[in-house]
Symmetry: C2
Subunit: 212 residues, 2 copies
């Protein structure tokens, strides 16, 4: 597996590469050099070449990189063959915003089910015919088909309570979108805090001090 050679900083840059290269493809561009990409990305040609090389050298010396090949390789890393079976927990404003992103725009995710705990939400249907189930039925509903990841759009307290249950049904990752960190530590389980809270807190400092 060459995969584990790809470091986290590189992975984090992939969506930006993906976006720029997709745009170029739309505009009929066929090839691109590391220095062109670097200019767009706001980085160095060196970094672009290092990045592409760590998941397989597929440029042509003297020529550059083929847009199609790049896009394919980056897609393979970002989306793989198999989509991640995903459940959404919490269908409030944030949950619904993320739901529509997940179903309409995100690649690599398959939304299996959505859950909420409020009477007024349970039984309703999200656009695209995904029913909102009672969070208390989580284990029953997931019994037949174990989800890979849970997208948590609930308050922190709820997230903490849900965590052990989710681990129990066999989930391998939590994407926590609550406003607070989900501080849990399970062996072999990815817990990522994608919440608004921390971002906004740190950004304030940065604009005050002009720190990029």
């Amino acid at each position: 597996m060459s995969q584990n050679k790809v470091s986290l900083p590189v992975i984090r840059r992939l969506p930006k590469y993906y976006r720029y290269i997709s745009d170029m493809k739309k505009n009929g561009v066929v090839k691109v050099s590391s220095s062109e990409l670097a200019r767009m990305m706001g980085t160095t040609a060196s970094q672009v070449r290092q990045d592409f090389n760590c998941f397989g050298g597929f440029g042509q010396q003297g020529i550059g990189y083929h847009i199609d090949v790049l896009l394919e390789e980056i897609s393979r890393l970002l989306f793989s063959e198999r989509k991640l079976n995903t459940i959404l927990i919490g269908t409030g404003r944030l949950g619904r915003a993320i739901y529509s992103y997940l179903t309409a725009e995100a690649r690599g995710y398959h939304l299996m089910a959505a859950f909420d705990r409020s009477e007024s939400e349970i039984g309703r249907t999200l656009p695209g015919d995904v029913p909102i189930s009672d969070i208390r039925d989580l284990e029953t509903i997931c019994a037949g088909c174990v989800p890979d990841v849970a997208v948590l759009c609930v308050p922190r307290q709820s997230a903490m309570q849900l965590a052990p249950q989710l681990v129990n049904i066999g989930i391998r990752g939590f994407w926590n979108f609550s406003h607070y960190d989900l501080s849990v530590d399970y062996e072999g389980i990815t817990v990522e805090n994608v919440h608004l809270g921390d971002s906004l807190m740190t950004l304030g400092y940065r604009v005050r001090n002009d720190q990029m």
Copy 2:
């Protein structure tokens, strides 16, 4: 100014420190050692001490750090004395979710106004009596009091169109919550992409490869 010595990685850790230390204060804890904090944060005591030292040594050798002092210092960095005057652009699901975070939970932001372009939103009022104005009135409304930052909860295309206008009225930072990167480059202006899109894309890879 000792501020500019505080590096970005340190700034990014501050909210997590803030949260843990706040919790301890609530529980009546008075002091904490770097090793205790490190255990909670999932890092080393060395890092904790380095972090705290780069914005002023205020621990006591042999004793540890006073919760109150820590909290004050971290608050000062994260929130400063003056709140950032903020406008919200886009009052859809995501915009409203972020609105309620900004007004109810976030510190350091003062929401001045909200804008949308859709007829059905304009004239309505967000909870807390903030009226939704027509995005076409942006310049008029901001003429009297220049906002510091704009929180963008609109599609990428709209964000790109709005950018020059926002720079024009004197805004110093964009927090872009759209699903795509806002690729603009203005001298002295902080553009931060806090969008859901990239996060979700990269997280997929990570759970597949168990990469933390």
